[in-house]
């Protein structure tokens, strides 16, 4: 037997053995299990990190809109099927300019987008900006307004607004 013949014979023996493993049935099936893990996860995106209210005549502009315009808000969250997703905002304090203050409640907002709500800023209790049920990505806007009064003392007033997106 030549070397080539021996190689062919060995190959066929292996083939025969392998075919011995094969079923003569016309079909053979095997199963695999598919697993997908989805963990809880939220993401909040704001279009700007600062809002300014330019000085204006209270008689002409009683409600000063914030610049650079409405705040675009994107809320993304993976929650349990019936769980709430909540977005709130809390002021760090009243508006302060040195020792002078203006109540934070002089800042209000209107909102657009499903689940987003209007409100008034508060330095002690977080105020709702929006709420939703279940997972998803939602977009809306918040237009901040400053109540302009002749009684506000001159100054440059600041506060920090903290937005919190949470899911139980």
């Amino acid at each position: 037997m030549s070397a080539d013949t021996r190689v062919q014979s060995l190959a066929l023996l292996v083939a025969a053995a392998l075919l011995g493993l094969a079923s003569s049935a016309a079909a053979q099936s095997r199963t695999a299990t598919l697993n997908v893990t989805i963990n809880g996860f939220v993401r909040l995106t704001l279009s700007s990190s600062g809002v300014s209210f330019p000085d204006s005549n209270p008689d002409l502009v009683p409600q000063v809109p914030g610049t650079p315009g409405p705040l675009a808000i994107t809320v993304k969250g993976r929650t349990a099927a019936d769980a709430n997703l909540r977005l709130s905002v809390l002021a760090s304090d009243d508006l302060r300019s040195g020792v002078r203050t203006i109540l934070a409640s002089n800042i209000t907002w209107t909102a657009t987008g499903d689940g987003f709500v209007a409100g008034t800023l508060n330095p002690t209790t977080a105020q709702p900006v929006g709420s939703w049920i279940g997972a998803g990505a939602r977009s809306g806007s918040q237009s901040l307004l400053f109540r302009n009064l002749w009684t506000h003392p001159p100054g440059t007033y600041t506060l920090t607004m903290t937005y919190t997106l949470s899911s139980p």
């Binding site: 392998l18 695999a32 099927a81």
Partner: protein, 159 residues
């Protein structure tokens, strides 16, 4: 031992005579013979941020098979999901799972469905061949938290 072999390149029918160590006799019109093995048998997709990982890939599955079409005819390997991805009362459409497979053209890419989808095709004898199938999952913010499962069935058949 003497052996004589002849392999027809056109039909791939095998004639074997004089083999004393083998019990398999392949006739001129062989019946269908199939062998199918998956390794591993679990396809797992880890949780990931949909913004940064919009398409999650699982580790490849090695599909090893022996296929012999009826009368040297064609054979087909299909893959089918038994339902949607389920976690309690939450579901994710199984169409969010697709696959890429090699080598081509024997193997082809596709999307899972509850009806069989063709994964590979061939004719005649495919002797201990293998392919790699990588399943991919469309990631989204719209999925509720959970561990979703489903059974996927691979079937090798000849008409």
């Amino acid at each position: 031992m003497t052996s004589r072999t002849l392999v027809s390149s056109s039909s791939r029918w095998l004639f074997i005579s004089g083999l004393t160590a083998a019990s398999v006799v392949l006739s001129a019109r062989p019946a269908a013979a199939q062998f199918l093995q998956l390794q591993p048998t679990t396809i797992s997709f880890a949780s990931a941020d949909p913004d940064t990982v919009p398409l999650i890939s699982a580790s490849p599955i090695r599909v090893t098979y022996i296929a012999l079409g009826q009368g040297a005819g064609s054979w087909t390997m299909t893959v089918e999901a038994e339902g949607q991805l389920v976690s309690g009362t939450s579901t994710i459409p199984i169409s969010n799972v697709s696959w890429i497979a090699t080598p081509t053209p024997t193997f082809r890419n596709g999307t899972l469905s509850t009806v069989p989808q063709v994964l590979a095709t061939g004719t005649g004898l495919a002797l201990l061949q293998s392919g790699d199938v990588t399943f991919r999952f469309n990631n989204s913010w719209n999925y509720n938290v959970g561990t979703y499962t489903q059974t996927v069935t691979f079937t090798l058949s000849s008409p």
